[in-house]
Symmetry: C2
Subunit: 157 residues, 2 copies
Amino acid sequence: MPRGRCRGQGWWHGKFRDCGYRLTLGREAILDVLSKSEGHLSAEDIYMKIHHRHPGVGLTTVYRTLDVLSSLGMVHKLDFGDGRSRYEFAEGPKGVHHHHHLVCTQCNKVIDYTDFIDDEVELLNQTEKGLGQKYKFKITNHLIQFYGVCEECGGRK
Amino acid sequence: MPRGRCRGQGWWHGKFRDCGYRLTLGREAILDVLSKSEGHLSAEDIYMKIHHRHPGVGLTTVYRTLDVLSSLGMVHKLDFGDGRSRYEFAEGPKGVHHHHHLVCTQCNKVIDYTDFIDDEVELLNQTEKGLGQKYKFKITNHLIQFYGVCEECGGRK
DNA sequence: CCATAAATGAAAATGATTTTCATTAACAAG
DNA sequence: CTTGTTAATGAAAATCATTTTCATTTATGG
């Protein structure tokens, strides 16, 4: 099925080159892991997942690449309070798979939820527009997280 | 004007003792700075502000106290992406002064906004309730931030 | 005033992220 | 396909915010 406009060894190629970046093996591997993983990976998680196939790619490169991806808006950098940054692939253009996070403050478990997302996104868009105008910001992104205590952690009262 | 139910050297006393914590000079000083400051202070900011009057209070204590306050819900720990945590006094019970943040991803400037807050808070409350039930979370807090490029940073195109 | 456990400071440890710098590799041009 | 330019890289060292250790101090109940 060679259908679809983003096939082959990465539709990233274009995006990268347009911004003056080179597409290297390491970067491709990182992008690959990110796009296929569910979770919220730390730099080291990514490093480990890649290390099998690409022992040559170092942790430093992972960090550097995540920085680039982050600044390109292809990846979201998240903080769930466990002392390390987590990275998540920024999904397709139309908010496909758009979700937010529910974080347990005791065990740091994170649940991705999509419930009520439509209302949230609508409000967000409005707010975004309003804030953008009022404060002359070019808004590119938002973050919503809920914090609480999950069932297990709450159990042991 | 000795009016109001939270006067004197801190209505914190009660909250602390109820949880088995002792109210010390250092803690009081930290709470004092936090409750009077506008901004989003880092641990070191707080340490410096206190150091004038209380040279005895060390940075370690600041960190430890912020941890306690955070777990008591009296302070919110925030991450604006500049590599250090920021702390903000959690205002009164009824959402007084409730606000969210608009963060410039280039210069890390943070704007507190209260626009649209009512709608946001209402949606948030509903979502909170819904999520809490569905995922069996006891939700205690939420975080909303918008990211973008501020006027100055965007100016130099 | 005393006893006890919490709180503290100073210094050392930790650990994620960044920087340095010499080397390698991507890619445009010929 | 070869080559030159310059971005990208790895390894090791450096940073730097935060945490831990441990001996000492202090708040608070009795």
